[in-house]
Amino acid sequence: MSDEEPEDARPRLAVWKFASCDGCQLTLLDCEDDLLALSGKVEVAFFHEAVTAPDEGTYDVSLVDGSITTPEDAERVQHVRAVSRRLVTLGACATAGGIQALRNYADVAEFRAAVYARDEYIDTLATSTPISAHVPVDFELRGCPIDRGQLLEVITAYLAGRTPDTPAHSVCFECKRRGTPCIVVARGIPCLGPVTHAGCGALCPAYGRGCYGCFGPSYSTKFPAFIPLLRRDGMTTLDIVRVLRTFNTAAPEFDAASRQEELG
């Protein structure tokens, strides 16, 4: 607990929110066992969802949840960068633009009119973009939502002055480690595991379902070789475009593969 240390000796942590579901920053509150221990080591100086405290001064680590979708937020993220020594993005929205980046393939004026009767009240950008499209980012955490263990690793690493260690290989490695028989081989279920970034612990295959790519592309995606496997397991062009266009739709590898697939 914080009583043992003087408050100002602790590094300052901030949590910022842009367009998102709040789930990634909520992960911090889901670290129940570690939450109070962590609060002894860092000062959670700014975190609207959990703390009544104004944004003042600078922060050692800023965690950023959400994507940039409005002109004000494009300004605000500059401020966040300016007051942060380390800036870490949390999850698919902040790292890749999130599901709201589906607007990037559509006419945002039409979207606005479809949801709001008086769309002139709504100020929004034509695209949803990741934080890295606006300011330099020190570390990007993947996932929709992020993994609790990876979040704690990043915070701990920066507190210790080292580089966070989160594996960049594919979900396939995690199935092997978990001992889950390959559902593609054993059951013919299409699975994005071979092209998807690790971090979830290969949850979906453990529940008998193909990976749907919520951690975005891994560091080696070979779509020309991979897409035919999805077809072999029964997916149509439309199915493939849809599965690539979800929570990481604007991640460059997924975006390129879905556009290529549409062209045929």
């Binding site: 607007r103 479809a114 009240y121 379902r209």
Partner: protein, 448 residues
């Protein structure tokens, strides 16, 4: 502050709510002439991009509307899509859905009680400060929340955006032995939940009364969570006092959303009147179906006798009702686990067909409605989501107005005190405005 100047004060962000918005208040003397909750959450256009998706996708896609209540979105989506396809999910699959939902109720309601709401009653800025005052209480809250997470993680794979839900049921259902470790944990959680009720019942509650119509699902014989009939309990003073129901398919004729210029969240009214969904409404409408020992606790907590139709209209006491609901969810979870027999298949088939389907469930914050229209191959051609906070927005604004007026009638108050009080009045309803919104910043304009 001089007597006749009008000013607008930015008093900082409204914190400890989920999502971001602004509260704007205009004062003249001790009258609040206007109270507006503006939601500035950037619009994300779910209803627009759901068009053209496969009917199998909305449960996963709409869970991303809200990281606080993803199960609620998955359940309302499944019910609406299964309704469109003419499929009913019953038996043990329905029981497992209720179990999953109980997990979300436990963790989400406990999150609100301990991390967001309780600090208000101790004058603390957050749970860390509260933990210094009362470590054992906060530890109990975190343990209880963890029990809810454990249910969602076991059944769903993870607590935020679970992966195991699909149309017709689940991708995989657990064996009986897999649920056994949860029982031990939930027995402890039952003690923690009961202690929570007693703890929050001892808080000091400001006097306040609200006059919103209550709106919740009702299902005779049970405290409605994942199914039921829309039911309205009119406020005292309404023309007709009798509770009324309507079929879910008529939802859009009764609950009408309209847009206000100051918010990205649509506001809803029920048959032209201001209404409130959530814990207070559920307790008033379904309280009689709570088990006897929970009804007894409600009486002890000064909420009256639910068997006799007790109604709590003090929004500050919603934290007590929320605690009772956590206890109920823990007991329900234990009951479902005790009665569980693995179903013959992990899901029933849901073949696509053209049509429109309606689905509503009780998200922790209140009734969440989904409607989808499908074409014959199952492509979504229209989608409507009505979250509880858009329904509650009008009631929240009215509560803030009443609470502040009562305070100003009692004598002069500083802007800081008014700000803190209005934040509390907002937090009473656990608003989750990430479903549409941003930055709750409070500004006060005084006209005297």
């Amino acid at each position: 502050m001089s007597a006749d100047t009008e000013r607008e004060l930015p008093l900082g962000a409204l914190t400890r709510v989920e999502g971001q918005g602004t509260l704007r208040l205009r004062l003249r003397g001790d009258r609040i002439v206007d109270s507006r909750l503006s939601v500035y959450e950037p619009p994300r256009f779910f209803e627009a991009f759901l068009r053209g998706r496969s009917y199998t996708e909305p449960p996963d896609i709409t869970s991303r509307v809200c990281g606080i209540c993803p199960v609620a979105y998955q359940m309302s989506a499944c019910r609406a899509l299964e309704d469109a396809c003419g499929v009913t999910v019953g038996g043990q699959l329905a029981a497992l859905r209720r179990l999953l939902y109980c997990g979300e109720w436990i963790e989400s309601q406990t999150l609100h009680i301990y991390l967001l709401h309780a600090p208000d009653f101790f004058g603390c800025s957050d749970i860390v400060e509260l933990a210094r005052l009362s470590t054992a209480d906060v530890e109990r809250g975190l343990r209880l929340k963890q029990a809810g997470n454990a249910i969602v993680e076991l059944l769903g794979g993870r607590s935020i955006h679970p992966v195991n839900v699909r149309l017709g049921g689940f991708h995989r259902v657990p064996a009986r032995t897999e649920l056994r470790p949860l029982r031990e944990r939930l027995r402890r959680a039952r003690d923690d939940a009961e202690a929570t009720v007693r703890w929050v019942a001892g808080f000091d509650f400001p006097d306040a009364t609200s006059d919103h119509d209550f709106f919740a699902l009702a299902e005779p014989g049970t405290y409605a969570i994942e199914s039921g009939t829309p039911t309205v309990l009119p406020a005292p003073g309404a023309e007709t006092q009798a509770p009324r129901t309507f079929p879910l398919s008529a939802f859009s004729e009764h609950v009408v959303e309209h847009q206000v210029p100051y918010s990205t969240a649509l506001q809803a009214r029920l048959d032209g009147r201001r209404h409130l969904a959530g814990s207070l409404a559920r307790f008033a409408i379904s309280g009689r179906w709570l088990p006897p020992e929970i009804r007894e606790l409600a009486r002890e907590a000064a909420l009256g006798d639910p068997a006799g139709g007790a109604v709590c209209r003090n929004p500050f006491r919603s934290i007590v009702v929320r605690a009772l609901e956590v206890l109920y969810a823990v007991q329900e979870a234990l009951r479902v686990i005790d009665e569980y027999e693995p179903p013959p298949a992990s899901h029933v088939d849901v073949p696509a067909r053209a049509g429109t389907g309606h689905g509503a469930t009780e998200a922790p914050r209140g009734l969440l409605y989904h409607r989808y229209t499908l074409d014959a191959d199952g492509t979504v051609t229209d989608a409507v989501l009505v979250p509880p906070t858009s329904q509650n927005q009008g009631a929240i604004e009215e509560d803030v107005r009443r609470v502040l007026e009562a305070r100003l009638t009692a004598g002069r108050a500083s802007d800081e005190e008014l700000a803190a009080l209005s934040e509390r009045a907002v937090r009473n309803h656990d608003p989750c405005i990430s479903c549409s919104a941003h930055f709750l910043r409070l500004s006060v304009t005084r006209e005297e």
